[in-house]
Amino acid sequence: MTLPQRVAHTSFWLSHGTFWFTLLLGMVLGTSDVCIPYLTGCISITATGIPDPQGFVFRGGLISACVLFIVWWYCMQAWLTEIAPERPIWTVKYMVSAGIISSVCLIIATAVLRPDKANLPWTVHTVGAALFFLISLAVQTRITYWLRHLARRGVDIGSSLTMKFVLVYAQWFFLLLMIVLQLVESDDRWKNIVEWWMALLIGLFYLSSARDWHSFRLTDTD
């Protein structure tokens, strides 16, 4: 397995493994109900990572995963530069930088979590997490359309384009749903469901590149 493939796999499994493990730990320790948040919205992602000792796992796992997201974006940049017959247009280059910024936002949002909820800087956390979701979606959409542009020009971009389109459109659907839920001041449970699904879809987008990168590896070109 190449380094970019490992990064794609680990980005998904580490981030979601962390969510699922902290959720499970919360159920065992009695800080959260026994439920499937993707269906019932019984708990938000943030809430799984607030109390200790789940917080230790959550911070360690998610900040580590965010670093891998950043490396994933560098891999994507290197890959696009390598496969594109012409240099990627400026929006694509800036989108990769934006992808890195979105991961940094999530690092900040995760680092400020602490068990004493009253002193937790909620604004920093909420803004950081929201920016991660919004910027990631914008960047993933732009990259997907750039890949389609390359595919139409006959460039070998791998086999994940259809999956990427499905993931991106599903994310836009959930984002619109979230906006509607905010406007109608819906119950938090519905918002939690949307949050869990959006996180899953973003993670799957990172994972989707693994099969494209099987021959994209570190090589001494000297």
Partner: protein, 237 residues
Amino acid sequence: MTLPQRIALVAVVLPFLTMAASYGLSVMDGHLPLCIPYLEGCTTITATGIYYPAAYIFRAGMISAAVVFILWWYCVRAWLESVGHPQHHPWIHRIVTFAVIASMLLVASIAVLGEHMEPSSEHRFLWRFHTVTAGLFFLVTSVCQILMTWRMRQLQAALSIKFSRIAGKQILAVLQLLLLAAFMIILLLGLKSDGVEEIFEWWLASFSALYFYTTFHDWRDFRLTRRERQQAQEVAL
């Protein structure tokens, strides 16, 4: 700049920036004294990451740095197996495995830090966990860096590595070895006094971080590419 070069650069810059920022914030908030910890041993690295808001920066920066260290070790393995006559080197696999585990211990060590560990008398388990994992990280990482340098020196000709590419690594490996040896002697002879452990900790962490930078120039032509595949296709044609 290639991806491995970025990793080597971030592996040295990120820990130094994080320690400096969190120490500065802790001093400004009055939690730590203003001093030169490298000379006076007035504080530990851990202490800079206990109090909020410095702890936010410390955990974000150091956990990120630990993941970068893992990536650096992965690049080392891939690089050493691609230079000279590409072949499988079991020794580097073993060293990298230990070093990666050590970096994972650093993640665990930092993840538990925060104001919730105060007062320390009521959270002895967390403190012991942090001390053991952080100590193992320092020790194993230094030993792995020393062993890597030693083996690279032995296999210099086989790996086709120039002397200049090992010189910096050798200096930092020797300095780490001397620090570890001196610390062991002080412990064994019971000469330990206030601040000695802290001074060793700061210097060892710095040498270890600087070591990551020594591959920056080695990796100028070490990049992510599909060239291997292209070359194979050209040969096939």
